[in-house]
Amino acid sequence: MQILDGLGMTLGVFALSLILSFPLGIVVAILRLSKVPVVRKITEIYIWILRGTPLLLQIMLVFFGLPSIGIAFDRFDSILIAFVLNYAAYFGEIIRSGIQSIEKGQRESAEILGFSSWQINMKIILPQVIKRTLPSIGNEVITLVKDTSLVYAVGQNDILKYAKGVANSTGSLVPYVLAGVIYLVLTYVITKVFNEIEKKVNYEE
């Protein structure tokens, strides 16, 4: 089955994008809430641009556009850069809203107890933020699975590319349906995983 060869690429883009963009999103959120106005503003602009333009355009810009000014990445790296930067902006905004939803008294209590800012963020704020934002993060992760099909536009051999190839040569509808089923299975698995995580971290507040 050729289409399964494409699955590796789809999963690769998905997994690497997720693993890299989520921590970067945390950093984006923290910078976005920085006390230093310049840092805050720059982060805001970054988020605005990355969320305000199509991901497909960003991928093309990195892969086709940057070489014209002498910065060239190979196909896969270009894709990854665009995905990570883009998703970090989305995750960043979700996490920022989560951080802001936690009453500031917790941070103040922790400060008086002597925790450093880093400890407060990592041990006290972030665990609660992740719990509160889990549904939105889950949505974003599902969108990410589907967005991986954009790599097809720069000629990467993912599920969709293979499906199209097979469909063209056989004149059959089946490859497209099969591709659809694979995406459904992936999103189903992700939904289940997130439901489990939600159950695990569930506590009333």
Binding site: G105, S109, Q128
Partner: protein
């Protein structure tokens, strides 16, 4: 002197909230700050805790400066200095602000293990002892949301006291308590002051509670301390 605050001024934009107030708390002494809503009580305590920066004035904890004013220029403790000073401070907020994702025990041990770098078993022992002293021995593995308001407050006290602060501040400690629990709170606070020698600064509207718990009462009005009374004098005023 444990806490000394002298000539504090603080304004938020153009509203003057602290207008030249001075107060002090001794070791083992319970001092209450009373006064109408908006008088500036919380702001005064927040300045002591380093959560708010006063515009002018001098605050010392055991001789260490939270802020210092010389020749009209007010300088505040650096982050590092403040961290050092805060080892002597504890605060129980009106809304407690327990960490909801941690158990009662973890709420109390976290500062010991992560800030004071005390080994986990030792930290647990200290925390359990403190929780038992406050009557929470059977709640150590519960999450904060499984506790009543009074129990949450005692966890907050345990969390503050387990690090052996020299000065403990309470903002409205009886606001959410029924009268039986208020009596209990009086005993807890007196015990901490007399047994452990902790200086306690309390903000309260509850006159009976203030009467029963305080060694000294400061009356605040529009950013000023208008009267300073001994416990006896306060009792007489209340009778009148």
């Amino acid at each position: 002197m444990l806490l000394e605050a002298n000539n504090l001024f603080k304004a938020f934009r153009d509203t003057v909230v602290l207008n030249d107030i001075s107060f002090s708390v001794n070791q083992g002494e319970v001092v209450s700050l009373v006064g109408q809503s908006g008088a500036g009580k919380t702001t005064a305590v927040r300045c002591v805790m380093g959560l708010e920066k006063c515009d002018k004035g001098t605050i010392t904890i055991h001789g260490r400066f939270v802020c210092k004013t010389e020749n009209g220029v007010c300088t505040h403790a650096t982050k590092k200095e403040l961290a050092q000073i805060r080892r002597e401070l504890g605060m129980v907020f009106q809304a407690y602000h327990l960490f909801p994702h941690l158990t009662v025990l973890e709420n109390v041990t976290l500062a010991l293990t992560d800030v004071y770098k005390i080994p986990k078993t030792e930290a647990n022992e200290a925390a359990v002892a403190m929780l038992e002293r406050l009557g929470l021995g059977d709640k150590i593995n519960n999450k904060p949301n499984e506790l009543s308001g009074g129990q949450k407050q005692r966890v907050a006290i345990a969390r503050s006291c387990v690090t052996n602060p020299k000065l403990l501040c309470f903002d409205e400690p009886t606001a959410a308590l029924d009268s039986a629990l208020v009596v209990e709170m009086v005993n807890i606070i007196k015990d901490l002051a007399k047994k452990d020698g902790i200086g306690v600064l309390i903000i309260s509207h509850d006159e009976k509670f203030v009467r029963d718990v305080s060694d000294r009462v400061l009356m605040m009005e529009q950013g000023r301390i208008t009267r300073e009374l001994s416990a006896e004098e306060f009792k007489q005023i209340m009778r009148a």
